[in-house]
Symmetry: C2
Subunit: 343 residues, 2 copies
């Protein structure tokens, strides 16, 4: 099984996703600051993968400490470094909170025990992620019929998680059940995660995938070439409003206009009950050159003004269901989300 | 004024739009086959510009004939070469028909008169195009208020016409009236006409333009950053259904969902009364490598399956008005189009 991020030989190792599909390079970091930078630079991306990578990075940071005089302060510095990497994906903060809870519980133990406890927790978060994705896949697979074609946006696959994927985990589970499922992948400008990552990992698994530009999704829906839409999520508010990669809102509006079911697939750690609705979710604005350039190639006048929001919010009324590891939440979402999160 | 295509020194000259914005190169052709190839390769594109270029190319082809033994056959060969270049933009066939009408009228004249008549007609089509665009601009400018921001898709500017533009002509006319108008340009994958051409020509004119990826238009509409949408057209059916660059339909659906007026700006030559509704408009499917590559740079697994429709159809109920040189047609379109075309 394709694995995105792991801990080995005292290092955090990850597939450098900025190099795919041309090069399959394993980046290896023994400094937590480099792990944080890798998240900022999107060598690793995808809400669940960001959470796991931050947990492993925090464990790495603590394990490498030589002086333990300022342990509490160092823990704070390390976790704050990760908290500043990406503002939208809530799984990041969820993972940091899990690491903090272990730290606070063990803070008076001897240092080797603290180090081991933090590493164990990070590894547990990683292993849980795989099981969660398989469970999301099993619930989601029931929503797909043999012969259907699914549109997905960005990459909510193995590469966005530790392994298996959320939206693509649903595809994998449906295929494992013996269903014939085809995928249409939005290329997902500006960073082309659909073209570079989704196509790559689906082809690797022998899954039928067709690449389109983001502007073609509406046309194909109207032509009845798309039966379902499944995407991931970076943060889900208490009412079901969902932040995901820029362009997701457009896909959802087009799906509704064409009577095509639109599903979110995400772990419960993506749900942020402290956020009442989508308007409160912080939206990361990224560098203008991500739009002006593609892989170093200038595609516009070099000083042209640019907007580059990394995410948008899809309102709950556009969402047919939120597929989680505990089942599929449906409208009215405030109640179903409360139930599914045990709130 | 920026001029896209013209006839000079016995040659058809045009700005090679595949090289913009990095290089401003004037391509010069004295063989009509090269002019036809330039249309296929999109060195010149945009429905009105394609029509004018074909007319100039036909005049060039006839002017260069040395033997006139098979004049009728040669004329047919030349016009058929142009008819095969791009299937969707109807202005191409409209221009060919105008050239054919002159040829049939003059076919029994002496040869130098035939040559001159065809060249005169092509030059007339070109000059008319500029006046038509200015008239479209004047009608359209009335629809824009001071301080508004207009989203446009692809390039319906000076570069899509002989000069001035259709959708961008409306912007230019509104600014000439003293209104402060800002433009947001969809980059328009796969061939990036928005990023490469619209941004370039608006910056050249000192017009405020901001570049976004196609996936960001919906987000900005919801954030109330867009007041109006104006785009061009490649073919308009008798009921107002409009074929335009792929992604236009998506923009129209998003505009409707966000209560934003969505206008088409196009000359009457873009209207095809022989087509009853949009479902009958032929949609050009282009090479898969336009999606897999960006300016020669591979952005996906190299053999990934691709769909690459060059256009889509926006149904009349999504269109707030069609701005022509004879005024603005509004719903019900079958009647208003009949009236405006004098049908």
């Amino acid at each position: 099984m394709l694995r995105t991020v792991w801990f080995e030989d005292g290092k955090v190792k990850l597939i450098d996703q900025t190099k795919l599909p041309q090069q399959e390079i394993i980046a290896q970091y023994d400094d937590y600051k480099e792990v944080a930078r890798a998240i900022v630079d999107m060598e690793v991306r995808g809400a669940p993968a960001i959470g796991v990578t931050a947990a492993l990075g925090i464990a790495l940071g603590i394990c490498k400490l030589v002086s333990l005089e300022n342990l509490k302060k160092d823990f704070l510095t390390i976790t704050e470094t990760f908290a500043k990497t990406r503002p939208t994906a809530v799984n990041l903060f969820w993972a940091i909170n899990r690491m903090r809870a272990v730290f606070e519980k063990e803070v008076n133990s001897d240092i080797s025990h603290i180090k081991q406890s933090l590493l164990d927790e990070a590894l547990k978060i990683a292993e849980e992620d795989i099981l969660i994705n398989q469970s999301i896949g099993n619930y989601g697979a029931k929503l797909l019929r043999d012969g259907e074609t699914v549109l997905t946006h960005c990459n909510a696959g193995a590469l966005a998680t530790v392994a298996y994927g959320t939206a693509l985990g649903v595809i994998r589970a449906a295929i494992a059940e013996g269903k014939n499922i085809k995928v249409i992948a939005d290329e997902t400008r500006p960073l082309l995660q659909g073209a570079r990552l989704t196509c790559w990992e689906l082809e690797k698994d022998g899954i039928d995938v067709t690449l389109i530009t983001d502007s073609m999704a509406g046309y194909l829906m109207k032509e009845k070439k798309i039966d379902k839409v499944i995407v991931g999520a970076d943060r889900i508010a208490a009412n079901g409003d969902t932040a995901n990669k820029i362009g997701t809102y457009s896909v959802a509006v087009l799906a509704k206009a064409n009577n095509i079911p639109f599903y979110i697939a995400a772990p419960i750690s993506t749900i942020d009950l402290s956020i009442n609705d989508g308007s409160k979710i912080p939206i990361e604005q990224r560098n203008a050159d991500e739009v002006r350039f593609i892989d170093g190639l200038l595609v516009a006048p070099k000083d042209v003004k640019v907007k580059n929001p990394a995410f948008d919010v899809t309102e709950n009324e556009l969402i047919s269901g939120i597929i989680t590891e505990k089942g599929v939440a449906r409208a009215p979402y405030r109640q179903s989300i409360k139930k599914i999160t045990g709130g």
